[in-house]
């Protein structure tokens, strides 16, 4: 096992009823890296992300995080669960003001001083001027930036992102990618990014993992992944061919 890993994954599987949707023998997520998870729809990327956020328990095997194993029948301690957060594809903002949405996660932790962190988080995503507006009235790009600010205000050790820029315009895609990069470099936040966009993976990631039908086909440094993939299926996927 690597000493630098944020997560160790071993013999991990997830099944819904009798259908296995994820089966990974061994995988690690390094501390402070941006790891992109790529693969066709239904390959298990989002399922893996939910497991990494401890939202669902594995059916078999385990994920080790901060020295604690997360496995079937076990809940992750709240203080560890709170070091990890997810930005989903759909922002799922609360029917409150932008400000209240951003401070919500601090209030969950009983933190009273929310003024400074909220202002910083909103400035980071360029939405300080919309603080008092109802979050439900924002555009898709603005809403996703609020979701990002709501996650960033926590200064999480691990930021999980499930297609955060899907269906957004190029301006918002660029802005969100810049923020992800900045947060990762300045705070050494580990980022696991699910994306369908291989170009985005290439722009952002340190390493890329390719999932296919719930199995991990290949994980490699970004240059190796795109320039000299070890597996023919990875090569086909990178070249935009149909992969089954």
């Amino acid at each position: 096992m690597s000493e630098q890993a944020a997560y160790y994954i071993r013999e991990l599987s997830k099944a819904y009823e009798a259908r296995e949707v994820l089966a990974i023998d061994e995988m690690e997520v390094q501390q402070g890296e941006i790891l992109a998870l790529v693969g066709p729809s239904g390959s298990g990327k989002s399922t893996l992300l939910r497991l990494l956020n401890f939202l669902e328990a594995p059916t078999q095997g385990w994920i080790e995080y901060a020295g604690v194993r997360f496995e079937a029948g076990k809940d992750m301690p709240l203080e560890l669960r709170r070091r990890v957060t997810t930005v989903f594809q759909h922002p799922m903002l609360l029917d409150r003001s932008v400000w209240d949405n951003v401070t919500y996660s601090l209030q969950l932790r009983g933190q009273r001083d929310t003024q400074g962190p909220a202002q910083t988080a909103l400035e980071l995503v360029g939405l300080a001027n919309l603080a008092q507006q109802n979050a439900r009235s924002l555009s898709g790009g603005e809403a996703q930036r609020v979701a990002l600010a709501r996650a960033m205000i926590l200064r999480p050790d691990v930021l999980l992102m499930d297609e955060p820029t899907a269906n957004l315009d190029p301006y918002n895609v660029g802005l969100i990618e810049k923020i992800i990069h900045q947060v990762n470099r300045e705070h050494q936040t580990t980022v696991v990014l699910v994306t369908h966009n291989v170009f985005q993976a290439r722009r952002l990631a340190d390493r890329v993992a390719f999932l296919l039908a719930g199995k991990l086909v290949e994980v490699a440094d970004v240059e190796d992944f795109f320039d000299s993939p070890a597996d023919v299926r990875t090569r086909a996927f990178v070249n935009g061919e149909m992969v089954y």
Partner: protein, 220 residues
């Protein structure tokens, strides 16, 4: 306004207000649990809840009457916190049983109307299960207000159950609906009509207040 009339109105508020409070305290958490949790036997609980929503109040009155009568399973216990028949306490029990399934059922529907992904999102942000449930309930607040309004509507206008378990005793258990029945039977149509208009006015004002609250939630 005569002191008798004031007494009747105050008792109506006391009985229906307390029953609504109890129905809300029971119904809202129950509806939230039913809307958020999946467990074995949930479907049967939902069927029971829906049955309770359509339960004829007079049958509830009969059921409470049999339970609280001296020979009934609760009446013979003689425990101090179990109300006796023909007291406001018995009327509150009956009205609570009438209203809480409505409050719970409509709350459940409101909670189920909130996108399930929202619960996952707030847990991902570090919410405990209780914090997540409270957040979802707050998101469903307009529906929860409707649930409480429905509960209030079912008991403020109810006559069969309170007549059975309260007995319409002057100065003790006479409320506006039972007084209307009595005064109509006695031929005192003026008084019955006055009570009717007052009851309508009170119902209108309470619903108006709820609507304003709902409107504020929708506009905030």
């Amino acid at each position: 306004m005569s002191s008798d009339l004031v007494e009747i109105i105050l008792l109506t508020f006391k009985v229906s207000g307390t029953a609504l409070l109890l129905s809300t305290l029971i119904g809202v958490p129950l509806g939230a649990v039913m809307g958020l949790k999946r467990f074995i036997g949930r479907r049967w609980v939902v069927v029971l809840l829906y049955t309770g929503m359509g339960f004829p109040p007079v049958v509830v009155g009969l059921f409470v009457y049999l339970l609280l009568s001296r020979a009934g399973p609760l009446g013979e216990l003689n425990w101090p916190f179990i109300p006796e028949l023909f007291t406001p306490g018995a009327m509150i029990v009956a009205q609570t049983i009438i209203a809480f399934p409505l409050v719970a059922g409509f709350t459940m529907a409101a909670v189920m109307g909130v996108d399930p992904q929202l619960q996952q999102q707030v847990i991902s942000l570090g919410a405990t299960q209780r914090q997540a449930a409270t957040t979802v309930l707050w998101e469903a607040r307009i529906g929860v207000i409707v649930a409480i309004v429905a509960g209030f509507g079912s008991i403020i206008s109810e006559v069969g159950a309170v007549m059975l378990v309260g007995g319409n005793i002057e100065g003790r258990t006479r409320v506006m609906t039972t007084a209307i029945v009595l005064e109509t039977r006695k031929g005192n149509f003026d008084l019955a009509l006055t009570l009717g208009v007052l009851l309508l006015g009170i119902t209108f004002l309470v619903n108006l207040a709820m609507l304003r609250l709902q409107g504020r939630s929708m506009n905030e």
